[in-house]
Subunit: 294 residues, 4 copies
Amino acid sequence: MYDKNSKIGFIGLGTMGYPMAGHLAQQGYQVSVYNRTPAKATQWQAQYSGTSAKTPAELAQGMDIVFSCVGNDNDLRAVTIGEQGAFHTLAPHAVFIDHSTTSADIARELFSIAQAKGFHFLDAPVSGGQSGAEKGILTVMVGGEAEIFAQVQPVISAYAKAVTLMGNAGMGQLTKMVNQICIAGLLQGLSEAVHFGEQAGLDMKLVLDVISKGAAQSWQMENRGKTMVDKAFNFGFAVDWMRKDLGLCLTEARQNGATLPITALVDQFYADVQDKGGNRWDTSSLITRLTRKI
Amino acid sequence: MYDKNSKIGFIGLGTMGYPMAGHLAQQGYQVSVYNRTPAKATQWQAQYSGTSAKTPAELAQGMDIVFSCVGNDNDLRAVTIGEQGAFHTLAPHAVFIDHSTTSADIARELFSIAQAKGFHFLDAPVSGGQSGAEKGILTVMVGGEAEIFAQVQPVISAYAKAVTLMGNAGMGQLTKMVNQICIAGLLQGLSEAVHFGEQAGLDMKLVLDVISKGAAQSWQMENRGKTMVDKAFNFGFAVDWMRKDLGLCLTEARQNGATLPITALVDQFYADVQDKGGNRWDTSSLITRLTRKI
Amino acid sequence: MYDKNSKIGFIGLGTMGYPMAGHLAQQGYQVSVYNRTPAKATQWQAQYSGTSAKTPAELAQGMDIVFSCVGNDNDLRAVTIGEQGAFHTLAPHAVFIDHSTTSADIARELFSIAQAKGFHFLDAPVSGGQSGAEKGILTVMVGGEAEIFAQVQPVISAYAKAVTLMGNAGMGQLTKMVNQICIAGLLQGLSEAVHFGEQAGLDMKLVLDVISKGAAQSWQMENRGKTMVDKAFNFGFAVDWMRKDLGLCLTEARQNGATLPITALVDQFYADVQDKGGNRWDTSSLITRLTRKI
Amino acid sequence: MYDKNSKIGFIGLGTMGYPMAGHLAQQGYQVSVYNRTPAKATQWQAQYSGTSAKTPAELAQGMDIVFSCVGNDNDLRAVTIGEQGAFHTLAPHAVFIDHSTTSADIARELFSIAQAKGFHFLDAPVSGGQSGAEKGILTVMVGGEAEIFAQVQPVISAYAKAVTLMGNAGMGQLTKMVNQICIAGLLQGLSEAVHFGEQAGLDMKLVLDVISKGAAQSWQMENRGKTMVDKAFNFGFAVDWMRKDLGLCLTEARQNGATLPITALVDQFYADVQDKGGNRWDTSSLITRLTRKI
Ligand SMILES: NC(=O)C1=CN([C@@H]2O[C@H](COP(=O)(O)OP(=O)(O)OC[C@H]3O[C@@H](n4cnc5c(N)ncnc54)[C@H](OP(=O)(O)O)[C@@H]3O)[C@@H](O)[C@H]2O)C=CC1
Ligand SMILES: NC(=O)C1=CN([C@@H]2O[C@H](COP(=O)(O)OP(=O)(O)OC[C@H]3O[C@@H](n4cnc5c(N)ncnc54)[C@H](OP(=O)(O)O)[C@@H]3O)[C@@H](O)[C@H]2O)C=CC1
Ligand SMILES: NC(=O)C1=CN([C@@H]2O[C@H](COP(=O)(O)OP(=O)(O)OC[C@H]3O[C@@H](n4cnc5c(N)ncnc54)[C@H](OP(=O)(O)O)[C@@H]3O)[C@@H](O)[C@H]2O)C=CC1
């Protein structure tokens, strides 16, 4: 349905959005961008061909699809229904696709507003991190209407290896929450294991090699185990983002009746990491609160 | 060094030991077995060729290698230095290899006693579970003397895909503890994630398919995620064994100064599962204490 | 400064507000009341002498002091700055005193709005529960201006045994949060202790008598210990209120950098109690999730 | 039954035992003491009138009652059934009363051995700390035979304000465990509360004064709250003793099926305090792991 003449807007050229918008341009779509800090938009235009707009509202005019990848609920609110938000100018039948990790509540709220205004909204949080965005191999979890999903899936595939419809509005965000809950408990377990092994005098890199072949294996063990042993954390998914995400999970759980003891605890443990100055460290830095002497 | 004429004894024909001893027999070694409950030894002899003994002490006489795979520290103590234990009759230069999961303390203690008596002891706990034992693809983590390890490694390979020397006496057990600590936190995270997803009304099998491609992935997610959704637990690694193992970890941590908050908590959560009658359920049954209504 | 001719309004005649407003009337103040559900206002007027109003805005006109004791942040917002809120009609120099337990954020926000409009706001959450309100012996923790506090303290004393200025706007609420954090950890400890004692076959009422003389003593032990043994929970401070309060604490901690591991965990444990139908049970019902067989 | 001519032995003149034995001497009993490090026995004899013995076995000969107040299970084992232990020489009908905090298992074991040998054993752990011992106002929780208890209660009262029979052998120790479980959760709650209040900029001594009148009140708040604010911990009940005691609780819970999540977690948190060098600090030092910057 969409082709190279389709007009695409992209709001938010951060760590994730910048390369995602770039992949769309490289696929040949007509891409226009908006970034709060204009310098990044200028830089993006220099690197890829495309236009830029001064506000989300200006950007959204006449677009077929508008993407966003901003910070939190408030940020998303600002660029959609805020004073200069895209929702004021989006054409009927246009599709707004949000790639930010937000609450399911705001996703459902924006879906309803979009519906009332005659256009479409999909919540579409991603996983895969900076390198996934750069390589164009993100995993995208989508909530919204099946028909709309089917139309935009090929476009999203410009930067994704998997794009899946998870259910109604908000269910993309809920899927992402499931993902983050898994990671919180898993990383604390891994942190305690590495810490224990170090206290026990084991050669932990050898240990990780051996046990990553069995029931203790995880992506985190394979991709973060050795950097945890090296106490190297200046990369990856930042602790501050993780706390935001866990906050979303805990708030949602308060509503849906789920009980998340370890998630709640690990969220507090991340407060310890922040207290140590680890706001921008990778989430695997959870181990630093155990090995205080270092 | 060892060949088909080598004489091998095996103590403990339980879920794990039975097939392990079977693989040794199938490789052509001269295998003699001992089991506390004699019926299992008789059954084993019927299935594989080999002899049996009435006590560990009787079994150990004249052996080149004696293996054990029994329950806990007390059980290992009984079959080694107990009244009818193998240590009373083992020949000088023989090797005793223990595959039980025990404390590092008893491993170090038996190593010292063996040394004083002129024979050898290796602690060699395994991972891979019942199916790993049956298929002969266990992972074996060994503590003890390098020279002895090098000699017996080919024999152990009869039922293992990886046999690694982790360090001195006790370090096999310590490695296994690291493995179990990883699993405890990881499974609680996974349990909370599945529980949350269910409360949120997500199609959890679809969710697991999607997120198992990224940073939340784990062996447990791939191999236990869907059975957790189905609430099927009559298989796998029993909760009672897990509590024994976590007890070993927590006792060791008390000595080496490691702090294991989530491990300690999950150990208590397993008490809830036992309280529900889950003593023999797979460790993934941790989720049952969250979904109490089911 | 205030005397029997002072005009006092009271918003929210719930479990707490009803008797509090009653004490003010009994002290001889001219009390007018507002309650969302009018029947309670009618009942209150029948029991005490006084008038009533149809909206907070109507009530507030010409008042010297207006009190509120409603539910959460949203409720307080509704009765103050909401469409029919009291802030639209309050006279200059009047004082608005809120007895609800809310966030410190909304207390600070309402303080600023009041200041801009020329009247005064005090956040004044209470402890002491229903019986404290009925007996007029509450503890009141106040945040706001010292001068204003000094003027209204004698009035508040109508239903309080202690009224203390804790600091600037919001600090009343923060003090109440400290109170709730203490209680959460304390009650979980007490729950585990009673549960353990029961599993151990002890006569727990005797045990509580003995240990309440020493370092384990607490108000909760003395006032809730035996009802916990009896599993009687249809009274006291409701689990739903407690979760609201712990939610406030955890949100505030996210801002001020405090790390509250046990508070976060106990908050999740209360989700288990809610899941058992304990929404209105006393907070000491935390023990019910340990003794699942009962 | 016992009078000033009764012969009393006391094993273990540590922080607790020294003043306890002193009170017995001051009451006029014929007291003989044993201490592993003889200097303390000499010092004790210089301060109080009495004799001393070179071994527990020597001490116990001809005694009517022998008390002990040593460290842990192993220490108690040493002074009773160890090579030079008191159990080898105790006369029939004599009573051995242990004031150490130990497992219930060893209490039951020694009770049985005593019974077989024709004398009596009571487990009688205490609470009240060093100052309680010095002032003679301990609380004593006793397990054993009612008849024997009745006879010795007046003697124990020399240093106790309350001496209560809790039930059969071991139930004194189990009662003490209930006490310690209460304290663990309570102190962590109090620590988080003080920490939160400090982060919030409250005057915490004022806050403690205010809230100690209500539902958050506890002995620890009244007796340790302000020293926690001052970060003063060089007194009181040592962290190392607490970890020993919590270890006993957790081991017992493993047997009786109780689930103790917060107790297990706080036990791990105490590992953090030990890691900071707090082995001899008062248990209220739990707060130091939250305020890491200090
Ligand atoms: N099951 C699993 O998936 C895994 C288990 N392990 C570890 O392997 C060990 C064995 O497990 P598993 O085979 O499942 O256990 P089982 O309970 O199936 O078998 C235990 C074996 O040990 C024998 N045994 C136990 N106690 C004594 C004793 N005091 N004296 C003599 N023999 C004794 C039993 O004899 P009898 O037949 O008479 O009862 C039986 O042969 C454990 O340490 C476990 O933690 C490690 C990895 C995976
Ligand atoms: N109960 C207790 O033991 C204690 C309670 N508190 C705190 O005191 C406050 C009140 O508690 P409690 O009296 O028990 O609560 P209740 O539920 O018994 O009463 C709440 C009162 O607030 C009114 N109200 C709620 N929302 C609104 C709204 N949006 N607009 C107008 N009126 C509203 C209710 O009106 P309506 O009758 O129409 O529902 C009712 O009068 C809470 O913040 C609570 O946390 C503090 C200490 C102890
Ligand atoms: N301190 C407190 O506030 C409280 C302590 N308790 C409990 O009371 C008991 C004693 O505590 P406390 O007095 O503080 O401890 P201390 O360490 O001050 O004293 C321990 C005493 O036991 C003796 N002892 C230890 N091990 C042995 C052994 N193997 N053989 C012979 N004697 C031994 C020591 O002898 P030596 O002088 O030679 O070292 C010393 O006399 C402990 O179980 C503790 O948990 C209970 C309540 C409060």
